[in-house]
């Protein structure tokens, strides 16, 4: 067996972030306390933002923190606090089909792993132009190639906002 290669700093950082994300993801679905699930979700979202930074998509990373952690995770925590019927683990957190779901998830992951490992992906990153140009290119793409999707997204967010307020009203 050839000598083990010493991991470079980049690989160590990736391993740390990926491990943090994976363990938080596991806590999200495995802990019986619902509030701990929400906290672990926040940790997972931060970990994913860290992965985006490793992939040199900085604007996406801060957008992820801004939207996911600042808004969605806060919304989820609010909803947990407003509907606190099953908080302290008195009833089981999993439903009738948890065994089959666990087997299915593990099998799914195994198939995905086998599939991914079997294909010779490209394993080196090409050199990115400066990040400033990346952000400029992103903005240009939004208003030239994908402008229809962009506008429809705005309309969708407006509809979702109005709909959520209407649905959650007290009368």
């Amino acid at each position: 067996m050839p000598e083990l290669p010493i991991p470079s700093v980049g690989q160590l950082v990736f391993a740390a972030v990926a491990l943090f994300t994976a363990i938080s993801g596991l806590i999200v679905v495995a802990s019986p306390n619902l509030f701990h699930n929400a906290l672990a979700l926040v940790a997972t979202l931060f970990g994913v933002a860290g992965l985006y930074i490793l992939l040199e998509a900085e604007f996406l990373a801060v957008s992820q923190v801004l939207v996911y952690v600042g808004a969605i995770a806060t919304l989820i925590t609010f909803a947990i606090m407003l509907t606190r019927s099953m908080m302290y683990g008195r009833t089981s957190p999993v439903n009738r089909q948890w065994g089959k779901a666990a087997i299915f998830a593990v099998l799914f992951f195994a198939v995905l792993l086998g599939f991914v490992q079997g294909i010779p992906w490209v394993s080196n990153m090409a050199e990115l132009p400066s990040s400033q140009e990346t952000i400029v290119a992103l903005g240009m793409e939004f208003v030239t190639t994908y402008v229809v999707a962009f506008e429809v997204l705005g309309l969708l967010l407006l509809v979702a906002l109005v709909g959520a307020v209407m649905l959650a009203r007290d009368n």
Binding site: F35, E58, V69, G70, A73, T74, T77, M81, Q132
Partner: protein, 404 residues
């Protein structure tokens, strides 16, 4: 671009004979440690300034016993807080209760990484620096929510909800005000925005090309939003001792409370520094090109001036109710900023020279803000005369009234 401080420092360390990797790690470690040290210790000066300013507002002297001019008062307070008993309420969620003050300080310290102190001295010149600042506000939101929940106290929970409502509502005018700056300068990096604000006359950098001169409306809205984000009066409904039993840190005592206290003061200074960076030119000023260290002096003068202004307002204004606060954020500030952005976007695409664009932006800022203030004061006055009590908006959405 100017040379980043780390390059000079790493060069110095390499000249001592260290290998390059070790020099890099050491340089960043020392820089990071220095930044955190300054961040945490500036609370001492800031609390002293606050107490002196507010006491002079209230026609009294303020702390003057401990040390010359009361400078060591904060140290005495910190020692007192450290010696207090650390009480944990029963059935408090241990993880949430203990993690929340740590997250509050963590969010505050992380903000220091993108503030440009002097030409070349910035923690990390991120290309998305301004959005990074707003995104880290969400850590403060999570910490408040966790504190409210972990205290196992329904008043703390309610106060936590209201804090989150306030912070999230005022994040939107803040982001929109930042958007006007980004539209004008074309970059989101803090160092580049400060570099934009130079005024070069005959090859000499006068350093007075501040964006605040150009967009006073956006400056005003951003300043008000920073008051709300740091929970200062007139927006400190959630931390006042007489309202809702001192808010979400009611169940904290001793060092944990000290961490919340420290985080609150330093965050208000950090937002003052951001106002100084985005709208008042940061380290720009006369003679900065020749003597870069002068930029540090200018920056701190501006940041502390805005901080004193914040504390001045804190000592002067009464606090507003939560429904009035939500009304103000959503129905006044957001439409105002959206109007300003639309006008600025249209103006920036007109085929006129840049100076005319700047003049149009300035006129539109003054005009829109003046019209809004006129309309609003008339409306509030009519409402007060009609209902014979202080202004009460018709909708109570977002105010999280306690359930009966």
């Amino acid at each position: 671009m100017r040379e980043h401080w780390s390059e000079a420092f790493i060069g110095l360390l390499i000249s001592f004979g260290l290998p390059e990797l070790l020099a890099t790690i050491l340089a960043y470690a020392i820089g990071g440690f220095l930044l955190v040290f300054i961040a945490l210790n500036s609370a001492l000066i800031l609390i002293w300034i606050t107490r002196k300013v507010i006491s002079r507002m209230q026609d009294r002297i303020g702390p003057n016993r401990v040390g010359p001019f009361g400078l060591l008062q904060t140290g005495a307070d910190a020692a007192k807080l450290m010696s207090k008993e650390d009480i944990t309420p029963t059935e408090a969620d241990k993880i949430a209760y203990n993690l929340s003050p740590i997250l509050a300080v963590f969010g505050m310290v992380m903000l220091w990484a993108v503030i440009p102190f002097a030409p070349g001295i910035i923690g990390a010149d991120l290309n998305v620096g301004v959005i990074y600042l707003v995104a880290l506000g969400s850590i403060a939101v999570m910490s408040a929510l966790m504190a409210g929940w972990g205290s196992n106290n329904k008043y703390a929970l309610l106060a936590g909800f209201r804090v989150v409502a306030q912070l999230l509502s005022y994040e939107i005018p803040m982001v929109l005000a930042i958007l006007t700056v980004v539209l004008l300068t074309g970059t989101m990096s803090m160092a580049s925005i400060v570099g934009f604000q130079s005024l070069t006359i005959a090859g000499f950098n006068l350093g007075f090309g501040w964006l605040g001169f150009l967009m006073p409306g956006a400056l005003l809205v951003f300043f008000i939003s920073t008051l709300a984000e740091s929970e200062l009066t007139p927006f400190d409904l959630l931390e006042a001792e007489s309202e809702l039993i001192a808010g979400f840190h009611i169940e904290y005592s001793g060092m944990k409370f000290a961490m919340f206290f420290l985080a609150q003061f330093v965050i208000s200074w950090v937002w003052a520094a951001v106002v100084a960076t985005l709208f008042l030119g940061g380290w720009q000023g006369p003679f900065v090109d020749q003597l870069p260290i002068l930029g540090l002096v200018y920056f701190f003068i501006k940041a502390y001036a805005i901080y004193v202004l914040q504390q001045w307002i804190r000592g002067t204004f009464p606090r507003i109710r939560i429904d009035q606060m939500m009304y103000f954020a959503w129905k006044v500030l957001v439409p105002l900023m959206v109007g300003l952005i639309v006008i600025q976007a249209i103006v920036q695409k007109l085929p006129v020279p840049v100076v005319i664009q700047y003049a149009l932006i300035f006129i539109s800022n003054i005009g829109v803000v003046g019209i809004v203030i006129n309309v609003l004061t008339g409306y509030f006055r009519n409402e007060t005369i009609r209902t014979k009590r202080s202004f009460q908006p018709r909708s109570l959405i977002g105010t999280m009234q306690p359930a009966e």
